[in-house]
């Protein structure tokens, strides 16, 4: 997927003008955002749990080689096979090879953001393999031929009415409005597909090193059917999902559901350790784990290492006023909201994405709710520094900044100029006390008045009184 992040402002403009989208985004506030608040409040040890989550992830990242080897050994011992992919192209090639080996014509897929990241969907279809998304939200956006707009709710940008229209157009039959009936219809269509699939592709929420176990959570049970029914199960996931122990995975699971949706636990938590064993009643014959690097190991030892703690809960976007105004598609790539503004430049290059780390007021709410305490504003600032170093900042902004910095380092000159500006603007604005329009300030005055200076600077007024307050 080519990033379209440079069009962030234009897409945000369209989003703000789209009442259906705004209504859909509004429900995040009353739903997941409020839910997270209640869940955090209800658990006395929630803040301590966040510390623990951060520490587990930090420890794992410090010993990533150790836990990677341990996971591979235990996965192999359980009968699974690990495939390491350095980048997206290698990961796509590996998955396609596995599909061809299994002579697959159709795959079912449960939600995996890493699968989106490597662009496996288009790749499978281009190679003649039918793909059926089994997560309800993913199924909806597959029908609409759209990318996800949220980590947890890929179709959160749509209203129920839009889904009613979509299902009527694709499934035939009458237009249904009742949400339960819509879900039942999707379930009926998907049930048949599960049995036709040759391969089931899932993601993973955690990879447990001590047991070689893959942990997935869903609220629909679709991962179970996706991985349990076909002969082959492929897991597309990434390095930073590793945790040392099962206890660690469960500590993080307690944080994940609360932070994501406000649930104490997701409806389905599935642990997979190897393919079907001789005594098992069902399960796939083969289990492949495609472990994607795609630039992650390059983040180790840099300022961005902290981002690898992310457990993909979506709390940062649910609480981000910019995301809630612009919606996920404005971000122009797979990952959205504050976490996307940090990850997308890493995966897609800062040249094509520098709009994203700037799409923040640094209000700090994302960091305040992050279950593993990722300092998201600090990491967005890191990308702004890279942008500045690479001269990707617009020339006028760069010039303005440096002119201002020049003055700020010359207090006497600075005071003389600000005194003049305060006098002139104070005189111009004395009629009403504010400006309705002002040259060079259109970004401000298009929608707001600009208060006029009082006519003298503080420093001048203070000096005039002999350094005494009035």
């Amino acid at each position: 997927m080519q990033p379209t992040s440079l069009a962030f402002a234009d897409k945000a403009h369209a989003a703000l003008d789209n009442p259906a989208l705004q209504s859909a985004l509004g429900s995040i506030k009353t739903g997941w955002q409020a839910g997270r608040g209640r869940a955090a409040e209800a658990l006395p040890e929630f803040e301590a749990l966040r510390d623990r989550g951060r520490d587990i992830k930090n420890h794992t990242l410090q010993h990533l080689d150790l836990y990677l080897e341990m996971f591979e050994a235990n996965l192999t011992a359980a009968g699974g096979q690990l495939h390491f992919a350095r980048d997206a192209a290698e990961a796509r090639a590996t998955v396609l090879d596995l599909c061809r080996t299994a002579e697959a014509r159709a795959v079912t897929k449960s939600k995996s953001m890493v699968a989106e990241e490597i662009g496996i969907n288009e790749h499978l279809e281009a190679n003649g393999i039918e793909r059926i998304e089994t997560d309800l939200g993913e199924y909806i956006i597959q029908l609409r031929k759209e990318p996800p707009s949220h980590l947890v709710g890929p179709a959160v940008h749509l209203t129920k009415d839009q889904v009613s229209d979509l299902f009527a157009a694709h499934h035939g039959g009458p237009r249904i409005e009742d949400p339960a009936a819509l879900v039942a219809e999707a379930r009926r269509v998907l049930r048949e597909k599960y049995f036709q699939a040759d391969i089931g592709i899932t993601g993973a929420n955690f990879l447990v090193a001590e047991t070689g176990t893959i942990v997935t959570v869903t609220n629909e049970g679709n991962a179970e059917l996706t991985q349990g029914l076909p002969r082959t199960h492929i897991v597309i996931t990434s390095l930073e999902k590793l945790v040392p122990t099962m206890d660690d995975a469960f500590t993080l699971l307690r944080l994940l559901a609360r932070s994501a949706t406000g649930q104490e636990f997701s409806a389905y938590t599935t642990l997979v350790t190897g393919p079907r064993r001789p005594a098992d009643l069902d399960g796939p014959d083969r289990l492949h784990v495609v472990l994607v690097d795609n630039g992650r190991t390059k983040m180790l030892g840099t300022a961005l290492q902290e981002m690898l703690r992310c457990i993909r809960c979506g709390a940062c976007m649910n609480h981000c006023p910019v995301y809630l105004a612009a919606g996920g598609h404005a971000y122009g790539w797979v990952y959205v909201g504050p976490m996307g503004s940090v990850l997308t430049p890493q995966f897609a290059g800062i040249e094509a994405t520098h709009t994203l780390p700037n799409a923040s007021t640094f209000c700090g709410r994302c960091e305040a709710v992050c279950p593993v305490r990722i300092p998201l504003p600090k990491l967005m600032r890191h990308w702004r520094e890279v942008q500045f170093e690479k001269h990707l900042t617009p020339p006028t902004t760069r010039f303005g900044l440096q002119a201002w910095a020049f003055l700020a380092q010359r207090p006497a000159l600075y005071r003389a100029l600000t005194r003049t500006a305060a006098t002139v603007l104070g005189l111009l604005g004395r009629g009403t006390g504010r400006f309705h329009r002002l040259p060079l300030a259109g970004g401000w005055t298009a929608s707001r008045d600009l208060p006029a200076p009082a006519g003298t600077t503080f420093m001048a007024a203070y000096a005039k009184q002999g350094g005494r307050p009035r």
Binding site: A9, A12, H13, L16, P321, V322, A325, A326, N358, S360, T361, F362, C363, G364, R365, R384, E385, Q387, F388, T393, T397, L401, Q402, W404, A405, A408, Q409, P411, Y414, R415, T418, A421, A422, R430, G431, T432, G433, R434, H436, A441, G443, W444, A446, S447, R448, D449, L450, P451, A452, P453, A454, G455, T457, F458, M459, A461, Y462, G467, P469, R470
Partner: protein, 264 residues
Amino acid sequence: MRPAPSAAAPDRPRVALFVTCLVDLFRPSIGFAAIRLLEATGCTVEVPKAQTCCGQPAFNSGDRASAEAIARQVIDAFEPYDYVVAPSGSCAGMLRRHLPELFDTDPVAKERATVLAERCHELISFLVDIRGLDQVASDFAGTVTYHDSCSGLRELGVKAQPRQLLLGVPGVDLVEMREPEVCCGFGGTFCVKYPEISTRMVSDKTADIAATGADTLAAGDLGCLMNMAGRLQREGRAVRAYHVAEILAGPGADTLPGIGERRR
């Protein structure tokens, strides 16, 4: 090293006022209100002449070299004082939380920055938490709603202190807006980089402010206040906007024109 500030916190600490560039240019009354409040708690207030700005615009725009140069100037100018106090959570947050970050490769400067950072405070939290102020003499009268500016709230824990002092003003009736902790959309350069998103955010905020029925908006940061006042005025809403220090530093507070209002 520069001359050390007076040992331990003395009864009359020497406090350097960090005026902030917005207060200096747009609204000196906030600086004078800060001085009155600080003096009321027994501080000796001085205004170092070598100050301009905390460097936050450069820091947040990725211009690390400029931010660092300005930070060195801040350290030189403010190091001799017992405390540095700014009538802004944003600037105080820059000084208190981010100044040392700028010197990761210069241990000597980092040490100086760290020592200074620990003495830097946002005005209202300094008055309440460090100086023990619990009551002010103000003749301000009105129904006030208080917006929690982001940096003060989340970087410095400013939340209860301004409300405590406002509640102690006899003429003030304090009412809470729906989401006082949500950003107003100012965000420094954000408001001109993404004016449409900023406008959406500030419009949500002014709707929440108006819904309280308050006649006065108070906050601890002039940037946020100019944004909210500017939008309230564009929408024709009759809500006056003040820095919380202006409300608390009466007498005379009630005759001060609000932000963006005509001087009387």
